[in-house]
Symmetry: C2
DNA sequence: CTCGAATTTCTAGCGCTGCTAGAATAACGA
DNA sequence: TCGTTATTCTAGCAGCGCTAGAAATTCGAG
C-alpha cells in the first residue's frame, strides 16, 4: 500500500532527474526550465516542487548522479590499467568523462550549490576523490603530504577540463598536455 | 562637439562596466539585473542596450577587464620575484587574484561567452597567457613542448582556483598544494 | 533667435522565468 | 457509502531580458 506509493514516488523523482539531465545535455542548462520539465514528465509544475525545493535542487540531484558515475568510471580505469599506468588511465578517464558529459560536468562543478562537500561529505561524493587518492598517494615523495598531492593532482586534471570547456586550450596539444601532466606527477 | 559626445559616451560605458562589476562582487552575478544596473547608473534600460548587445555582453566586458588586470598582476609578480622563484610568485599571484575577485573570475572563466579566444585572440586576452609562458617555458624538459607545458601548468593553477571556489579543497592544505605544484613543475 | 530634422532617451509592454496559494480531484478508511 | 486525507491542477504573482514607439533633447540651417 504505502510502500507502492513511495516506490512510485521515487520512480517519478528519478524520472525528473533523468529528464533534466537529458534536456541539459541536449540544449544546455538555461533551456531546462521548470515548465518544460513539467511538460516533459507530463505533470504540472507544483509536482516538481513536491519533490525538490526548486530548480537548483534538481540540478544538485543531477550533479550527485554525476559524482557517482565519475567515481565508477575512474575506478574502472584504475583497476583495469596496467601497473604503472594508473595515473594516465585515470586522468584520461576523467577528461573523457568531462568531454562526454559537458552538461553533467557543468552541474557538478559550476551549477551545484547545495551539495554537502567538506569534511562531512557523504561517501557517494567522496568516492571520486578516493579514486584519485588511490592513484596519487603512491606517487607522493617524502616531502609531499598525500592528501595535498591528491588535491593538487586533481586540480591539474580538472583544470584541463575547465579551460578546455571555454575553448582556452589548443586542440592539437591535447595528447601532449596529458603526457606532460603524467610525467610531472610520476617524476618521469 | 562630436568628440565630446563620444568621450562622454565611452565614459558612460565604462561606468556601466564598473557598476556591473561592483554589484557582482557585492551580491553575485544573479543579482546583477539590467533593471538594477540601469537604476544604479541613473539611466533607463534601453540606454544599456545602446552600449551592449545584452546582459551577456556586459559580463563579457567585465571579463575582458579581468584579463587585462590579471596579466598586469602576473607580470608584476614575475618581474619582482627573486630568480628561481618566478613560478611560485606567479602561481601565488594567480591564486590571490582569484580569491580577491571571485565574481570577476567567474565572469572570466564561467560566464563569458562572446570573447574571442583561440588563435586570433587580441593581445589583451593573450597577455596573461604570455606571462605564464614566460614562467613555464624555461622549465620545459627535452620532451616537453613549451606551449603544452604552459597550458598544463596553467590548468594546474587554474584548477586549484576552480575547485577551491566550490569548497572542494581542504583550507588547511592551501600552502602545501602550492608547494607541491611548484615542486612538480620545477623538478624539485 | 527660430524652427524643422536628427539624435537620444524614456515609457510601457511582451513573453518568459521560478515559484506558490487555493481550488479541484482522487484515494483512502470507517 | 461517505467523510477525511492526500494529491494534483489551475491560475496568477513578481521579476527577468529585451524592444517598439512615444517623448524629449540637441543640433544645424535660415
Amino acid at each position: 500500500m504505502q510502500q507502492r506509493r513511495e516506490r512510485e514516488r521515487s520512480q517519478r523523482e528519478a524520472l525528473i532527474v533523468s529528464a533534466a539531465r537529458a534536456m541539459a545535455e541536449a540544449d544546455g542548462w538555461p533551456s531546462v526550465t521548470v515548465r518544460k520539465l513539467a511538460e516533459r514528465i507530463e505533470y504540472s509544475q507544483p509536482v516538481l516542487y513536491s519533490h525538490f525545493a526548486g530548480r537548483g535542487a534538481i540540478i544538485d540531484a543531477v550533479a550527485l548522479q554525476g559524482f557517482v558515475e565519475i567515481a565508477e568510471a575512474l575506478r574502472l580505469a584504475r583497476t583495469s590499467a596496467a601497473p604503472g599506468t594508473e595515473l594516465e588511465a585515470v586522468a584520461r578517464a576523467y577528461l573523457d568523462f568531462a568531454a562526454a558529459n559537458p552538461a553533467l560536468f557543468e552541474a557538478m562543478f559550476t551549477l551545484a550549490e547545495g551539495l554537502p562537500f567538506g569534511p562531512d561529505a557523504p561517501a557517494s561524493l567522496k568516492a571520486g576523490f578516493d579514486e584519485l587518492h588511490a592513484v596519487f598517494a603512491p606517487l607522493a615523495g617524502e616531502e609531499d603530504d598525500p592528501e595535498a598531492l591528491t588535491e593538487t593532482g586533481w586540480a591539474a586534471v580538472h583544470g584541463l577540463t575547465a579551460l578546455d570547456r571555454g575553448g582556452r586550450l589548443r586542440p592539437d596539444l591535447r595528447a601532449e598536455r596529458l603526457a606532460i601532466l603524467v610525467r610531472r606527477f610520476t617524476g618521469r
